[in-house]
Symmetry: C2
Amino acid sequence: MPASKRDQLLATAERLFYEQGFHATGIDRIVAAAGVVRMTLYNHFASKEALVAAVLTARHRRFIASLEAAMAAAVPGQETLALIEAHGDWLRSHSQHGCIMAKAMGEFAEHSAELHALAAAAKADLLARLEAAVARDGLNHSPGLARRLFMVLEGSNTAVALLDTATALADTRELADTLITTARSDAR
Amino acid sequence: MPASKRDQLLATAERLFYEQGFHATGIDRIVAAAGVVRMTLYNHFASKEALVAAVLTARHRRFIASLEAAMAAAVPGQETLALIEAHGDWLRSHSQHGCIMAKAMGEFAEHSAELHALAAAAKADLLARLEAAVARDGLNHSPGLARRLFMVLEGSNTAVALLDTATALADTRELADTLITTARSDAR
DNA sequence: GCGAAGTTAGATAGATCGGTCTATATAGGA
DNA sequence: TCCTATATAGACCGATCTATCTAACTTCGC
């Protein structure tokens, strides 16, 4: 069973938006690349803005699913590290050119409150999951630890687009390790 | 003496590009906001791409100047921290919505190799200055410390657009502190 | 007062933008 | 078999995009 036209459009739009930017990617280029006609797009999505929203939502859903799979397989007490590792895996395989949510926030801050909020909510979701993992690992005596780990992951997002990916991810792991170790020793 | 038309254009374009994005900001909106006519822009800049390049170059020059002023005033042996503090000051006063170079890299990765390289070079410049500061502070026994601090600053860039600015900057300072302290204790 | 440089106003170009419309074709299920 | 949903091809809309051109107007040093 071939992918539905809707799914083809979502996948193609996601790729083009991610690689070329949202404003710089026109409707015509998306439908041409998806091998579909313009009216088919407008049959499935009310507007370009709605298409962007669907793309961001779908991508975040996949991201969260991959995180949750990793968390489910994690050794208890090591959930925070497992989350960071899963984030790194996602970067390596899906976000080598930076985080699509960060790009969306930059492009839509003054153009679409809805899309900006959608991307910001995705970021907030990651922070909340970090906080939950930190709590489950018994590290919540260290105020702001999750927030600082979140900042490290944000730095990692940018760094993979600037440095060698393997180096950036190794640095991320080491940073997280240092923070968690420091937090544990502070607890004593 | 009022600013030259060229300077008005540069300042206006920088503001609009930063707030609205590069592709989403048209020539006409820039010249209207600058109170100037379109031919004046093309009299000073060969193309929109040349204008963007001039904006990025000028902004990076100002950024570097503010870093160097802080470094010159820094206590010897504390240059790394001074640099991180100066980066935070720049974020607070000029980059509350994220780093313009990161935005440029995202928007021009597939549209202008020249502009992408320009923005990437600005990032590389910051990393190089971090490495120099780390060396002068006698911390270069810790391999990759500058790179990890760089990643923290990149995370800080994104975080100020997501969290409370003061909190994000305090976290950045604490992160840098932890890294430097860990590096010093590893040296013994 | 003169000349040169910079600026203005505004027409013009061709491409592309997001979005709509209609008429035709092709499926699959009842 | 017929009905409904979906897809196609392509014309069309007004707006906007970057860029160019010409002709008239300021400004300012000499």
